[in-house]
Symmetry: C2
Subunit: 416 residues, 2 copies
């Protein structure tokens, strides 16, 4: 029986050219966050199915790859529904596993805890171009710091990392869930319908203010409220410092200190920034996940329509494990999008040392082979990449391939 050569639906094999870039980017990420004092951790790729299906993950929970029970625990005849058959599932993000990890190990971890995670996640999405069912996420989180120092460090570390990878002219959009809510409350919308408002607001960059207005009206929101709501956004266009003015306008609708806190994050990151990017207060920024409780932020790249990563504060999630809330704030780099952008721009991993290839003709004796091995060891110690390969019958093609891979120095070793 012939086996299947293709990867499973929606997943893909990574070719050497791309993998080299991925390894390089992972290395830069690891090194940069390490310099910021982040500690690397790892959790299993599988989590208990009850944890995964606990309404933390929103729509992602519909996309879980579930793992069949094993041995005696699988009772096929008695099973009435899917959940009777499974006990574990593949993680769909790294935030839930981190919260579990922290709940389990907080006593053995520093406080605040600055964590770095890189790993695959799985979502059984409908396969589509550029979107895969297994993809890498790269998250940094600071747990146990309620102050905005967490946001400042997360954004500074991430922008430093992106700058090291050569990205320029990007923006970090930032907003606050509490400002979003205050704007909705100020406009007279009912709190129970806030999420509905935000889902429509989230489309602002696609459908514009007119589109948002129409859709709110279609959803039956009061015309005067909608007018007032859109008025806030129009007012912000003409203002240099929108945040301060917005806070003044919202008055008591906005909790005290929220705007100052956000202002401080923006100013502090701007003042100390190293790369070529801009902090932008964006009152239309929503971010889907319901677990965010405060600041939310996103990386916006000029070359890319969608966000290249983002995050925010989620102070209530760890309480779901321990019964006691822990302040938490995280930033996820869109690893796959970063790789895509680098690939499309023709990025090449910087070469270190040279590249030498030895082609050994068939039948070379032991002594000849040994002397090549000794020579190669010496070159490798000096940092040169040395490929030793059997000489193919079609030597010309073999040499062309090697030259394309950067082997400029090809040494032929003949059997005589």
């Amino acid at each position: 029986m012939a086996l299947k050569k293709k990867p499973v639906t929606g997943m893909r094999d990574i070719m050497p050219e791309e993998k080299e870039i991925r390894d390089y980017v992972e290395g830069i990420i690891r090194k940069t966050y390490r310099e910021f004092g982040f500690l690397s951790i790892e959790t299993p790729c599988m989590e208990d199915i009850a944890n995964l299906c606990s309404n933390q993950g929103g729509d992602n929970e519909k996309l879980i790859f579930k793992v069949l029970k094993r041995g005696e625990k699988l009772k096929l005849e008695e099973a009435k529904e899917e959940m009777d058959l499974v006990d574990q599932g593949m993680r769909y993000d790294l935030t839930l596993p981190l919260s579990r990890y922290y709940s389990n190990h907080a006593n053995d971890l520093p406080s605040p805890f600055k964590a770095l995670q890189m790993g695959n996640v799985w979502r059984a999405d409908r396969p589509q171009r550029g979107r895969y069912r297994q993809f890498k996420q790269c998250d940094i989180d600071i747990l146990g710091d309620a102050s905005n120092l967490a946001e400042i460090e997360l954004i500074t570390a991430t922008t430093t990392c992106l700058s090291k990878l050569g990205f320029k002219n990007f923006e970090i959009h930032i907003n606050e869930r509490r400002i979003l809510k205050a704007m909705a409350a100020y406009s007279g919308f009912e709190e129970a319908r806030f999420d509905e408002v935000f889902i429509i607001l989230d489309k602002m960059d696609k459908i514009g203010e007119e589109g948002v207005k129409e859709e709110l009206l279609e959803h039956g929101f009061d015309a005067a409220g909608v007018e007032k709501y859109l008025g806030l956004y129009q007012m912000l266009h003409s203002q240099e410092d929108g945040l301060t003015m917005l806070a003044n306008t919202l008055g008591d609708s906005l909790e005290e200190g929220v705007a100052d806190n956000l202002r401080e994050i923006i100013d502090c990151v701007e003042a100390a920034k190293q790369g070529d990017f801009k902090m932008v207060f964006d009152p239309t920024l929503v971010r889907g996940m319901s677990y965010y409780t405060g600041t939310i932020f996103e990386i916006v790249m000029p070359e890319f329509g969608a966000a290249c990563g983002g995050g925010g504060r989620y102070d209530k999630m760890i309480g779901n494990f321990t019964g006691k809330d822990v302040p938490a704030c995280g930033f996820s780099i869109g690893f796959e999008r970063i790789i895509l952008l680098l690939m499309e721009s023709g990025f090449k991993v910087p070469e270190e040392g040279g590249k030498v290839a030895y082609l050994i003709e068939k039948g070379c004796d032991k002594d000849k082979m040994t002397s090549v091995m000794v020579e190669a060891a010496k070159l490798r110690q000096e940092g040169t990449t040395v490929l030793i390969s059997r000489m193919n019958k079609n030597k010309k093609f073999q040499k062309e391939q090697l030259e394309q891979s950067g082997y400029t120095d090809i040494r032929e070793v003949f059997n005589r």
Copy 2:
């Protein structure tokens, strides 16, 4: 509802101290094999269930984590057995995925193809100390080279890698499936029962020659044959160059050139070796997997009872995908065992640059925070690790923790 804090049964969370060592070891492995011209690749963690259950994987196939079909494809009412419910499974090794990958992409890959893979594999083994259901494997393989240059390069690269990690006094045991078979044939055993003989022989290091003899007799093997078989092993004790003598004794039972081929591998690796290790011809080495067709080898560490990795030649596996055999040879480092040995020996990752921590008292103003950020950026550019953290109420404990983590320079920033 409180969520579960523990990882799923048989899997584990990796703490920062261990993860730091793992990242370091991965880096050394990646760099070393790169210097030998290996190309890094990646395949999905899931494979088609039919590929996984195709009798390539021996006992590992009993331990597959199976993934439930999704959506309409899952027909719970009609399902009669496990296999009706699943379409994919977690990979249990990296060799089968590599063979599939090569079959799928051979036209786009160099020939010979030198591949490096590092990734997790899953086996639903009975949980036991030091053995986990998710663990990392690290494989290098050379596909498309029928000559022993493949073995020489694989062993040289791997021993170089182990030496860079500080391992000394280890041995690479090497044998040949065809020698194993010739020894059994010479002793008059039937070919159909060779595997049975090898399973018993494999216990030699535990039960000794007497034990092997007894067990063979118990299994009903002919006493004269058993005598002749054990005689071969006794003869080898007294000989300097066991391999040559064995080849002479076996005569026509052994295919021509097999012993010379093996001799060349041993001599060539020995002659060019850089590290502190020894090549050992070990005629008792069996290695379980039925897919091996030629040389087999294993890393034997003095500190460790079991093998710390191994591999061999498997020239027939790719033919299962394409119908056309491709010579293949691979070496798998026992990543988890290497990490265990390093942890037990108190290994510390070499520090680069210094480690500075800033503790910021609550209420520090924007200007003070900004100046710390600017200072930190400068230090980080010079390669110093800089942690910026909110000052805790229990500052003494916080400083102690930081000192333990190597922050020798702790700078306090006060709100005044």
